[in-house]
Symmetry: C2
Subunit: 156 residues, 2 copies
């Protein structure tokens, strides 16, 4: 169950000194000017990089309280429970924070086939290829197998 | 060697349709309002998440041209060759881009001991611990062994 009246100040600490932020035990996340923090999501079993998304304070609170990943969609400007349409929920095994506490790392177990809305397991299915100086870079598809049909999952 | 007169427009393509961005072979990175793109850095051998940093167009060009990771420091507002002080250069094995081309993933080989300026292998050496409802979250140190002495590497 997700409580609606979580007060951010009860879960998050205020930002202290550089020493406190980097070496302390208080969780004092730094949200950017838009109130967002970046989240790297990896598969807790395989370690594979699945996706990168953003959370606002509310999404972070709901993730912590529910154990399932919530994000904030910048394009839709809305709180977003990952899997709410696809059913591909991400169960959170561990949340880590980086040295300056402005990036989160979620290690997750996937309830569904893939994390990417294109139907792939991961959003990172293309590598950059260099074609020589002053020549446009191109992309090569790698690990791009589709594990679900997005048209069927999301509708047309 | 890093060429100083790289023209961004010769390496990067302009943003096309959603279909072209997600399923195409043109590399059309999306820089944010500050001209930056987020980069997830993992160890190419172990797969471990090392750090997250940002690049501007120039840092990305230099990374592609030199095969070593360059970033843009938001706090110092300066282009930054990773390892320029510590010697802990990151050699780039592969660069991938995500579905909407607004995040990069660098798979790197580390020339030095650790990626984090605190002396750890990774910046993500603390996990969030829940202490019950309406109670401040705390951090627990995990994988936090120091692999170099930051005072010695960076000076006091």
């Amino acid at each position: 169950m997700v409580s609606e009246d979580i007060n951010a100040s009860t879960l998050f600490s205020s930002r202290g000194s550089k020493q406190e932020i980097e070496e302390g035990r208080a969780f004092a996340p730094k949200f950017d000017a838009d109130g967002l923090i970046a989240c790297v999501v990896t598969d807790a079993q395989s370690g594979a990089l699945l996706m990168v998304a953003h959370m606002n304070a509310q999404a972070l609170e709901r993730t912590i309280e529910s154990g399932e990943a919530w994000f904030y969609s910048r394009s839709r400007q809305a709180l977003w429970r990952k899997g709410e349409t696809s059913g591909h929920v991400l169960r959170v095994a561990e949340v880590r924070v980086d040295c300056d506490q402005d990036v989160l790392w979620l290690r997750v177990e996937q309830a569904g086939a893939g994390a990417c809305h294109t139907g792939r397991r991961s959003c990172f299915y293309r590598a950059i290829v260099r074609n020589g100086p002053d020549t446009p870079l191109t992309l090569e598809f790698r690990d791009d197998e589709r594990v679900f049909d997005p048209a069927q999952v999301y509708g047309k």
